[in-house]
């Protein structure tokens, strides 16, 4: 990407207030191309609102969010075909077969050679034998792979993931993480990942942003965070931040 290219995601002094509650309270960060960044925080920390604002689903109260240079949500149609997302809070239609779902979303995203792309994703995500089965008849792990296939159908440059491995068994979760890491590396895609799974964040992310009550409490590489808090795992770091421990107390 040329030096003059806009960052994949830039959040500047973002504030989102619902009635009187500040869900996000003046956060700023910029992601670099090809990075995988973890967004950590307890319930109500503002992670989902931040991701929804980046996706253009929420209008900020103040501040500015740009994706690939387009201001969200005002200029979202300039970039939505280069983005995608996966979240346990949305589902692909259960009555449609996997192939039908991927066909519909592929058409929505304007994917060229859609049949080839579906076959490729079927192969990569081990869905080939499931393509003609109704999505609702699949196991939780298989459904997650279908959601992942939907989120990769347009080979996005920016991928937003909200709890991508929630409710998966460890083996399937590990498989999904491996695939995401390979995709980000091969495509040089930028990934923003909200998760409560610290092992997942440690394995996947080269940067971690920790949020609390709508603000960024810390922002660094996993290794530097561990060193700064004097902890052995990110889970311990997360607990320190969540319970209000200051560095001095650690």
């Amino acid at each position: 990407m040329p030096a003059s290219s806009p960052p994949p995601i830039a959040v500047e002094r973002l504030v989102k207030i619902y009635r009187t509650v500040a869900a996000v309270d003046g956060i700023s960060f910029t992601l670099v191309p090809g990075s995988i960044t973890g967004l950590l925080g307890g319930n109500g920390a503002g992670k989902t609102t931040t991701i929804a604002t980046i996706m253009g689903l929420v209008i900020p109260t103040s501040g500015r969010v740009t994706v690939l240079g387009a201001e969200m949500p005002r200029q979202r149609y300039r970039v939505l075909h280069r983005m995608n997302f996966e979240s346990p809070y949305v589902e692909v239609p259960m009555r449609l077969s996997v192939r039908q779902n991927l066909t519909v979303f592929g058409m929505l995203y304007g994917v060229e050679d859609l049949r080839g792309r579906i076959a490729q994703l079927g192969h990569e995500l081990e869905l080939t034998k499931l393509l003609d089965r109704p999505t609702g008849k699949l196991s939780a792990g298989q459904k997650t792979r279908v959601s992942l296939a939907k989120s990769l159908i347009n080979s996005p440059d920016v991928l937003l993931l909200d709890e991508p491995t929630a409710s998966l068994d460890p083996d399937t979760a590990d498989w999904v993480r491996g695939h995401l890491a390979r995709y980000a590396e091969m495509r040089r895609a930028t990934v923003l990942l909200a998760s409560h799974n610290m092992a997942e964040v440690e394995r996947l992310c080269d940067r971690v942003i920790i949020m609390k009550r709508g603000r960024i409490e810390d922002d660094d590489t996993p290794a530097k965070l561990l060193a700064r808090y004097g902890r052995r795992t990110l889970e311990e770091v997360f607990l320190d931040v969540a319970r209000g421990g200051s560095l001095a107390e650690v």
């Binding site: 995608n84 979240s87 949305v90 692909v92 519909v104 058409m107």
Partner: protein
């Protein structure tokens, strides 16, 4: 270094309209209909029950009242046209509700699908759903009561087009309400059209209403259609003036529906309700 604009720049504005994305949504609803026989049966069930009930009632009245004997078909005609209005709106709203029920609306709102493309797909699907339900019922009306709706000819086209425009306008508005307020507003999809029923004078002339209510009735486009139907069946006159008046009112209603939908979607983005599409 100034980057060359990408080839897709022309299709990245809010106003771009892609037939491919509309076709994608139609395909999605067609897959759904095809996969579920209860959904298909539901399209035919109520129109058939309605038509039979009112058809037999008309038989009874016709045998006992000279006027209604001359005005043959007005009840069945009204039932069939009312069904176009009601099922048209319901067909639109149910396709939309399928996205809420399947928790797919977030996927769509974050895809490149424009609101106007979404609306266009829902409009086409309402016609498809209506056709699946209404065509067999109109054939049954011929078989049971000798009432041939298609004998209305070009007048039927005018009635149908006007009723569909009204049903779409209402369907679009209700969809916006549900997006903005969540599934708590779902009931509107099922009941809002019945607000029209007394004032649109489906089964009786506008003159039946109290004088002070009549101007209100004439504000509703369907009123003109049902008056036009009675004029055709009873007096054998096609009232093109009524159809043109209905078309003018429908144009206003449809534009208002679309504008309200866009405003409600914007309000939903401000309010964060696109993230929470539950109750």
């Amino acid at each position: 270094m100034i980057r060359k604009p990408p080839a897709y720049a022309a299709s990245t504005t809010d106003l771009a309209f892609s037939p491919r994305r509309v076709a994608a949504m139609m395909l999605r609803y067609w897959y759904l209909l095809r996969s579920s026989w209860p959904r298909l049966l539901d399209l035919v069930y109520w129109p058939t029950v309605q038509m039979l009930t009112w058809g037999f009632l008309q038989y009874y009245i016709a045998a006992n009242a000279g006027f209604f004997a001359r005005a043959g078909g007005t009840f069945i005609g009204a039932v069939l046209l009312w069904d176009i209005l009601f099922r048209g709106q319901l067909g639109f709203s149910i396709s939309f509700l399928e996205e809420m029920w399947s928790r797919n609306i977030g996927n769509l709102m974050m895809s490149p699908l424009r609101p106007l493309e979404f609306i266009a797909a829902l409009m086409v699907m309402s016609v498809v759903r209506l056709s699946i339900g209404a065509v067999p019922v109109t054939l049954l009306a011929i078989a049971f009561f000798g009432f041939n709706l298609y004998a209305l000819g070009l007048a039927l086209v005018a009635f149908f087009f006007n009723l569909m425009l009204t049903s779409w306008a209402i369907g679009i508005f209700v969809s916006g309400l549900i997006l903005r307020n969540g599934m708590g507003a779902e009931n509107f999809a099922w009941s809002i059209m019945f607000l029209f029923m007394p004032l649109a004078c489906v089964y009786y002339p506008v003159a039946t209403l109290p004088a002070w209510l009549q101007p209100l009735a004439w504000l509703l486009p369907p009123t003109y259609v049902f008056e036009g139907m009675r004029a055709l069946l009873i007096h054998k006159v096609f009232r093109s003036d009524l159809m043109l008046d209905a078309l003018g009112l429908n144009a206003v209603l449809f534009a208002a529906g679309v504008l309200a939908f866009l405003a409600l979607v914007r309000s939903a983005r401000r309010n964060g309700s696109l993230m929470q599409t539950g109750e």
